[in-house]
């Protein structure tokens, strides 16, 4: 059970299993399509018997994220998952967690909005995910998996980044990736933190005031504006550090490319097919797939912009990431957006058509 | 017959002069000072020697600024 292992799994299940193996201490969630498999898998798996991990169905997303806040305050590896309408409810808690600088992992299986919208896959939560989401100046580290394997790999990676930077990490997925089945290699079981390790490695954790130290306080409140400004400056410095160290992306057939698609997650899978179609037609097309959306791969996109004729941002939204692509490119080359909304996944031929009409012909 | 004698010490700098301790005292030991402390509160002080060390005043003091002593006198 705890050895490295190859299995055929849904993305959501792979994420859940990988989280157990990553040594997670607690999961707190509230059902919403298309990610309910995460909690269902965990409940069926009884991780308490395997590792001691707690799984709790909360009364709401608000409660779930605040349970994460409480658990994270104790230096525990805690997580939650939801989908767009639930993520809106979690924003208050996420803001507190970011303000108090706590580690945690959050999965958003994005569905089309606004409002109750649709349960079909979408990427319309890009702004919310990468620009803060709740109130105040803060950022989440945002990982964008595009395969079941990455759903599994990003669970331990997210916990490690969360603890390295004392910052919430968001995994931005959707129902397509969550519910598709693929072969996945699962990592070996990592042990959960012991109380001794928590007290040593995360000395800020509220685990009970022992005589050898002052009391620990987890708070996001600073009534003194100067102190609050200092705190904001510290947070911004941390985000710059994250930008420097943690930007992740992948390039596919970019070496000789004259045009580039920029796409993440599900859009990246389809864009990769679009690259093949375009190349069969003689168009030298490449793909840059951001793996982290914050920090955004600004630099590699800017570099590509020096040697290509145009860049198409492909998103399942009205055009959100395209703003970051434009910031990276400036006016070096034309940047266009192509997207479908409302839960519709663009087809690869559609993407090639958009490229031709918006960039090559236009 | 054994008799008890009490006394209280009020941390006057931390006293907020709320006077909640006054009705709690069975022997009217506590009264309001004419003087104010650093925070501008008219703190309270002992006004007679009748303290029996019952701690009633300290128990109701919201700011926990009263220390109570009691000694048995044979």
């Amino acid at each position: 059970m705890s050895m490295k292992e190859l299995r055929l799994m849904k993305g959501n299940e792979a994420f859940a299993e990988a989280a157990i193996r990553a040594g997670a201490d607690g999961y707190f969630g509230y059902p919403i399509t298309p990610q309910s498999e995460v909690m269902e898998y965990l409940m069926a798996e009884k991780p308490h018997e395997r590792t001691g991990m707690i799984v709790l169905q909360a009364e709401s997303e608000v409660a779930a994220i605040n349970m994460v806040y409480g658990g994270a305050s104790c230096g525990k590896r805690v997580m939650t998952s939801s989908s767009s309408p639930g993520m809106s409810l979690k924003q208050e808690g996420i803001s507190y967690i970011a303000g108090a600088e706590l580690p945690c992992v959050i999965l958003n299986a994005v569905r089309g909005g606004p409002g109750l919208g649709t349960i079909q896959p979408s990427q319309s939560d890009y702004f919310q995910s990468t620009k803060g989401g709740g109130h105040g100046d803060y950022r989440l580290i945002v990982l964008a998996p595009s395969s079941v394997q990455e759903m599994a790999d990003f669970a331990p990676l997210a916990f490690d980044l969360a603890f390295k930077y004392r910052n919430p990490v968001l995994i931005l997925s959707d129902g397509a990736i969550g519910q598709m089945m693929e072969k996945v290699e699962l990592q070996e079981q990592r042990p959960r933190f012991t109380e001794e390790e928590i007290r040593k490695n995360t000395p800020w954790a509220t685990m009970g005031k022992t005589p050898d130290r002052e009391r620990n306080i987890i708070t996001s409140l600073n009534l003194d504006s100067h102190v609050q400004e200092e705190h904001n400056i510290h947070l911004q410095a941390k985000y710059r550090e994250i930008e420097k160290n943690e930007t992740r992306w992948e390039t596919i057939q970019c070496d000789d490319a004259e045009y580039i698609l920029v796409a993440y997650g599900t859009s990246a899978r389809l864009s990769q097919k679009a690259v093949d179609i375009a190349r069969a037609k003689g168009i030298k097309l490449g793909l840059l797939r951001p793996i982290t959306l914050f920090p955004f791969p600004t630099q590699p996109i800017a570099e590509l912009a020096n040697r290509v004729k145009g860049i198409l941002s492909v998103e399942m939204s009205a055009g959100q990431m395209v703003e970051d692509v434009r910031l990276a490119v400036g006016d070096k080359v034309k940047v266009a957006h192509f997207g479908r909304m409302g839960g519709i996944i663009p087809s690869p031929p559609e993407i090639v058509e958009a490229l031709e009409s918006k960039l090559i012909g236009g | 017959m054994a008799k008890v004698k009490g006394d209280i010490v009020i941390d006057i700098e931390k006293c907020k002069g709320c006077q909640v301790c006054m009705p709690a005292c069975p022997n009217d030991v506590i009264g309001v000072s004419k003087n104010v402390n650093g925070k501008g509160y008219n703190y309270v002080e002992t006004v007679n020697e009748e303290c029996i060390g019952c701690a009633n005043c300290a128990v109701v003091c919201p700011d926990g600024v009263i220390t109570v002593y009691r000694k048995r006198i044979e």
């Binding site: 607690g26 707190f28 707690i54 709790l56 009364e59 709401s60 608000v62 409660a63 779930a64 605040n66 349970m67 994460v68 806040y69 409480g70 658990g71 305050s73 104790c74 525990k76 805690v78 808690g93 507190y96 509220t206 685990m207 009970g208 005031k209 005589p211 009391r215 620990n216 306080i217 987890i218 708070t219 996001s220 409140l221 | 004698k5 006394d7 010490v9 907020k16 709320c18 909640v20 009705p23 709690a24 925070k39 020697e49 060390g53 019952c54 701690a55 009633n56 300290a58 128990v59 109701v60 003091c61 919201p62 700011d63 926990g64 009263i66 220390t67 109570v68 002593y69 009691r70 000694k71």
Partner: protein, 258 residues
């Protein structure tokens, strides 16, 4: 008779009452005469007497007691408005050997945090909830709370709470007593020495219950908000006796001994 001097009485061995070490030296930010301070003190005295400072995690609310962590010398977390029971749920589930309590006002617990309160109680989380009911939103300047009495004036019910348009005051404590998850539900006050002593016993019982893994203990403390009520502290305590206690009667509401 009075041959004994003050110096003879004021000796360490004669101390019968002193401020607990579990309160920090900071002057509490509460208005003079506010019950929050007394409530803080009895909780800290109980933790000290039980010797569980190193095992206790407190959750502060949003409200006047948002800064409780400045005064309580224990590890603490500051929750978003109303969410303390959710934090406490996770803290206790993840650390079953720790003692966990929330400290919440009536706006925090009975308005914005109603869902978190009811469900933590209903799940029977093995925690202690301390509920400071002063019938008003103290911190934000004395607005109407869910607990504000009929006819009671506040800054958002300047002509008195009108039941028809503003709804009824809510008795959260009676409400949570209905839930099988709560094992000890009581209403106390801290305005007189006798009441403080009783309230402290209730708090002690609540933490002892947690020690025995019995379930959720809920201790309401009816308290004055003399600033919000616009009275002196002693007037406010009298007003509380005359007006709050008839609607929020003191005493145990549920005591599950098994």
């Amino acid at each position: 008779m009075d041959t004994i001097s003050k110096e003879d009485i004021r000796k360490p061995e004669n101390i019968v009452y002193k401020r607990t070490e579990l309160l920090t030296d900071k002057v509490m930010s509460y208005c003079p005469g506010c019950g929050h301070g007394t409530a803080h003190r009895i909780i800290m005295e109980v933790l000290e007497e039980m010797g569980i400072q190193d095992k206790t995690i407190g959750i502060a609310p949003v409200g006047c007691s948002v800064l409780a962590y400045e005064f309580m010398n224990i590890d603490m977390q500051q929750a978003a408005h109303g969410r303390a029971p959710a934090l406490a749920t996770a803290v206790k589930r993840l650390n079953p050997d720790k003692f966990v309590f929330t400290y919440q006002g009536d706006g925090d617990l009975a308005a914005i945090g109603t869902a978190e309160t009811i469900h933590a109680c209903n799940r029977g989380e093995n925690i202690v909830i301390i509920f400071i009911n002063n019938g008003i939103y103290g911190m934000t300047g004395g607005q109407m709370a869910p607990t504000t009495l009929e006819g009671m004036k506040s800054s958002t019910s300047p002509y008195g709470r009108d039941i028809k348009s503003m709804g009824n005051p809510i008795k959260m404590t009676e409400l949570v007593a209905q839930l099988p998850g709560t094992i000890y539900v009581t209403r106390q006050a801290v305005h007189t020495p006798a009441n403080v002593r009783k309230a402290k016993k209730a708090v002690r019982k609540a933490f002892e219950n947690q020690k025995l893994n019995k379930g959720l203990s809920f201790v309401e403390i009816v308290s004055n908000c003399n600033s919000g009520w616009k009275m002196t502290p002693n007037q406010a305590n009298q007003w509380m006796v005359d007006n709050m206690f008839p609607f929020y009667p003191l005493g145990d509401i549920k005591v599950n001994e098994d």
